[in-house]
Symmetry: C2
Subunit: 196 residues, 2 copies
Amino acid sequence: MAVTSGIKNRTRQAIIDAAIDLLADNPACSLGDIASAAQVGRTTLHRYFAERADLLSAVAVEGGQRLVRAARLAELERGTGGEALLRLCREYFDLGPLLSLIFSEQGGECWEAQDETSLHTVIERGRRDGSIDPVLPADWVLSLLWSQLYAAWSYLGERPGSSRHHVLDLLTRTLTNALRPEPKPDPVRGKASATP
Amino acid sequence: MAVTSGIKNRTRQAIIDAAIDLLADNPACSLGDIASAAQVGRTTLHRYFAERADLLSAVAVEGGQRLVRAARLAELERGTGGEALLRLCREYFDLGPLLSLIFSEQGGECWEAQDETSLHTVIERGRRDGSIDPVLPADWVLSLLWSQLYAAWSYLGERPGSSRHHVLDLLTRTLTNALRPEPKPDPVRGKASATP
DNA sequence: CCGCAATGGAACACATGTGTTCCACTACGA
DNA sequence: TCGTAGTGGAACACATGTGTTCCATTGCGG
């Protein structure tokens, strides 16, 4: 193992963690801010990450690992596609500030590159087993997942009163509903479409 | 009217429009970029907006006006609350890049300050007439509206192939479903159940 | 005790963005 | 024709962030 000294890894991790927190609510924050948030001198930060870009890519790697871990915890192969996606959503929700970061940099980053195909697989399964509306493209389902995830996270952040559990409940309910297939093929022209 | 000269207003508007476009995908873009996007010298830009903050607040005002106009076009007083919200969603969708801007700066800006109460009114109406699930807090409904709106807009932007109409259709379907109340009549006791 | 690894601070050069001043150019109306 | 409003470019000082170098410090193991 190249465990240089153990303490170096700890410092390195502290910097990355601080970077995730600060970059989450200000992607343009300065290295000095990150350094002091990590309780580390700016010199030390540069000793670990020569350039800003190096830190950013380290953050991306860390984020990617956390995403993969979350996906593993979600046991995507279990149950219907819809249920699996819901479990994934719960795990992702626990990623906290990382959500903002991923969402803000969304648009072609390498974040999920690896498990993007496995997500598509899950969604595909869901459309076939009837737990996800087959009319919705998989890409759109993913967009929905991320946007509602982000909405839930910032909703929680803006309301110190509401509990994590309550918000997660709202998220679960609305995401489930959004993805649910139309219960009936016949389009009624009446008011409410309560299943007769 | 203080229509200084007509040409001044045109220049001013060009600057604001360019600012909205550029700030939408990079909130930290430079004034020089905005100036050249508006086909205007940086000097001229500073002649209209002494400081960056002045331009930003002018953009906020413009954005607020467009929001109000969209809300008026949506005729929020017509139909059920859910229908009104859907119409509003369609109008908002036409705001284009402004969506990204509003969404990125979301979190206490003055954007909607004025019609926020009217939106709450509409949602309240929807919960009573059965078109919006009463379990969902109005705040959460708004969060959903904005996040899905943003998701739809960026979905469109990342896929030059898909038509505006198609994306708007996806948005409408998923938002409607997300807000739809539980069909409360006796459940089929099937496998998948939401609230235990 | 000495020496080395790890760190923090000060100082520097550099790049970019900002806000200002000054001057030249163009179009248009009196 | 001239004067003025509107504009654009060049240059400047200033602020902030970045990347680097150099040196002093702390702490731990030999």
